[in-house]
């Protein structure tokens, strides 16, 4: 079983350097740094071989637009985007995660942004990708993330008069006041 938290030995690191996926990721990272500057990206990881970069919300539109226009790697397919909520990360509670795909070179890229829950405002991508429209409406519906410039930011899956955003972590799936379901041994 692969353990991602385990420290890799130097030999394993060398093997990773020979790995085509790792080389590809290094190429993408070099491109990102050259296009948008190294300081733009605060965190770079490769969980399960998929290059993941974290940036700030003010850069996200620039980055996605720049990658769309870029001729070398052609990231021109927005696979999916989704919101996420980490209540314990102070001032970074909410996040958006974007998956981009270069169909020509078959490279995937994940971009994350985090922002405070008190100010959940993100620029829209609908001017770049038509497909971003409903994805952003879904993120608004589930997490209450506001997309500035979105042409029609309404709830999409839940009813319009719902007064909360149900995917936030403070709303449990089951009614927390019920006692008939607690179990002394397993806590459920």
């Amino acid at each position: 079983m692969a353990d991602p938290t385990k420290e890799e030995s130097p030999a394993a690191q060398e093997a990773a350097a020979q790995d085509p996926a790792a080389q590809q990721n290094a190429r993408v990272l070099a491109l990102l740094h050259s296009l948008f500057g190294e300081a733009t990206f605060t965190d770079v990881e490769e969980p399960y071989g998929l290059l993941t970069v974290t940036t700030k919300r003010e850069h996200i539109h620039n980055i996605v637009a720049g990658l769309q226009q870029d001729e070398t790697l052609k990231f021109r397919f927005l696979t999916t985007m989704c919101g996420i909520h980490y209540p314990e990360n102070l001032n970074q509670e909410l996040g958006m995660i974007y998956h981009l795909h270069s169909l020509v070179h078959n490279i995937r890229l994940r971009i994350k942004i985090f922002f405070p829950i008190a100010d959940p405002v993100v620029p829209t991508l609908t001017d770049l990708y038509a497909t971003a429209n409903w994805m952003e409406r879904e993120a608004y519906d589930f997490f209450g993330i506001i997309f500035t410039g979105h042409p029609n930011l309404r709830r999409i899956l839940n009813v319009e008069d719902m007064d909360y955003h149900p995917m936030r972590k403070q709303y449990p799936v089951e009614d927390g006041t019920r006692e008939d379901k607690t179990d002394l041994f397993f806590g459920r």
Partner: protein
């Protein structure tokens, strides 16, 4: 006599109106041009094959705009999944694209296996490929035959539904259920392919091509059918990509993106098959692409069945794969593992993984974030229907109502996958 009287009455009304308007015949086209009709297509309309609503503005027979409303069967799968152990999420995936449940099941299992780092033996991978391709055939059969029904050809639908029934019998032999299959487990299959299942499969593989040929000869060059579908609802490759199209709908527009080839999973690289593509992405192209994919799926199943390797049908992963029930009664370790798995006492590694499979409608993605607990911290489904259905309101503008029905049907929008 009565008819003549009525006609005379009508003539009188027209003559009177003519006089009022200064001799001009009453309404001209211009008088009506400002008058739009609002039409509710759905939420429960027999031709939409699912619960979704489109509020259409119609100028006579022509559609001016369409506003889709979705979410009628939203069941909050992403939220529910945050409280369920991994093996209990499989039934949720069944209920997304319920026309091809096994693909959803296997896609989810593979996502979890990727997170856990479990390698599945070849035999299990081949069985998965067989079941996934059967599901793809069932999915495409429904879509194409319903398209026939919507254009007025009911017979083809009945022919191929017989075959879908046989596919469901094979499912039944493999996993015990038919529509919402909950097939396989994390780590492999729950049981090996039984001789009865292989017999049924071989028999079906022998009989099905003749039916499929008959179905194709009924539709592919049928003048009436072609008049209804050729050049109806075309979409260009650029636009389709911008709208996030995947699967047969994207391939009909001429882009050969197929997850099975681009990022092979479950040993798809071992099989030889072609990716059919269309040219202008209209309803006819989508129909032909799906038909051809059925033939390619048959090729894959035949290869997989012929090359089916011997060996175990599940991975050796006692922490995640339930032990056989007999062993639970006799064997201490088996009892412990059984208990731990069922009670959800086994923690997953921390990590995040995106895995996608080629579903019946396109790239079906699972984005799983695990914080190390027994349930996902966040699970996001990339549902191809949800993503490409937003192009629908764009595609129907300027067409007639009957074309809108045909376009909807050829896009194969499944309400369960749309709403999750």
């Amino acid at each position: 006599m009565a008819v003549n009287d009525a006609l005379a009455g009508t003539h009188k009304i027209i003559e009177e109106a003519k006089e009022q308007q200064g001799g001009q015949l009453v309404p001209t086209l211009n008088d009506f041009s400002q008058e739009l009709t609002t039409l509710n297509l759905g939420p429960t309309h027999p031709a939409t094959h699912g619960i979704f609503q489109n509020i259409l503005q119609m100028d006579g027979e022509r559609i001016i705009s369409g506003v889709p409303t979705i979410g009628y069967i939203h069941r909050a799968f992403e939220k529910i999944a945050e409280r369920r152990p991994f093996y209990q999420i499989t039934p949720l995936t069944d209920r997304m694209n319920y026309c091809s449940s096994p693909i959803n099941n296997m896609g989810w299992h593979m996502t979890v296996e990727k997170l856990l780092g479990v390698t599945v033996p070849k035999r299990a991978q081949y069985i998965r490929v067989i079941m996934m391709e059967l599901a793809r055939i069932a999915d495409h059969l429904i879509c194409n035959s319903i398209l026939g029904v919507d254009t007025g050809a009911f017979t083809g639908f009945l022919y191929v539904f017989q075959e879908r029934e046989k596919i469901y019998e094979i499912y039944e032999e493999v996993c015990g259920s038919r529509l919402t299959t909950n097939m396989g487990r994390v780590g492999g299959m729950e049981r090996d392919l039984s001789p009865a299942a292989i017999d049924k499969l071989r028999k079906w593989l022998k009989e099905f091509p003749a039916v499929m040929k008959e179905f194709e000869s009924m539709f592919n060059r049928n003048r009436i059918f072609m008049d209804r579908v050729v050049n109806v609802g075309p979409i260009s490759a650029e636009k389709a990509l911008n709208y996030g199209f995947t699967g047969p709908n994207l391939r009909a527009a001429g882009v050969d993106y197929d997850v099975r080839v681009m990022n092979p999973y479950s040993s798809y690289e071992d099989f030889e098959f072609d990716i059919p593509v269309g040219t202008n992405g209209d309803t006819y192209d989508r129909f032909l692409v799906r038909n051809e994919e059925i033939w390619q799926s048959l090729r894959i199943i035949n290869q997989a069945l012929d090359k089916l390797p011997d060996g175990p049908f599940h991975a050796d992963a006692p922490h995640y794969y339930l032990p056989p029930k007999q062993a639970v009664y006799k064997n201490m370790e088996a009892l412990i593992y059984h208990f731990k798995i069922i009670m959800g006492e086994i923690d997953a590694p921390v990590g995040e993984v995106y895995h996608s499979v080629e579903g019946g409608n396109g790239e079906l993605g699972f984005y799983l974030i695990s914080d190390g607990g027994r349930t996902p911290y966040r699970l996001h489904f990339r549902r191809p229907c949800f993503i490409y259905y937003q192009a629908y309101s764009d595609m129907v503008v300027g067409t007639s109502l009957s074309d809108a029905i045909v376009i909807l049907s050829s896009m194969n929008v499944i309400a369960g996958e749309l709403d999750a």
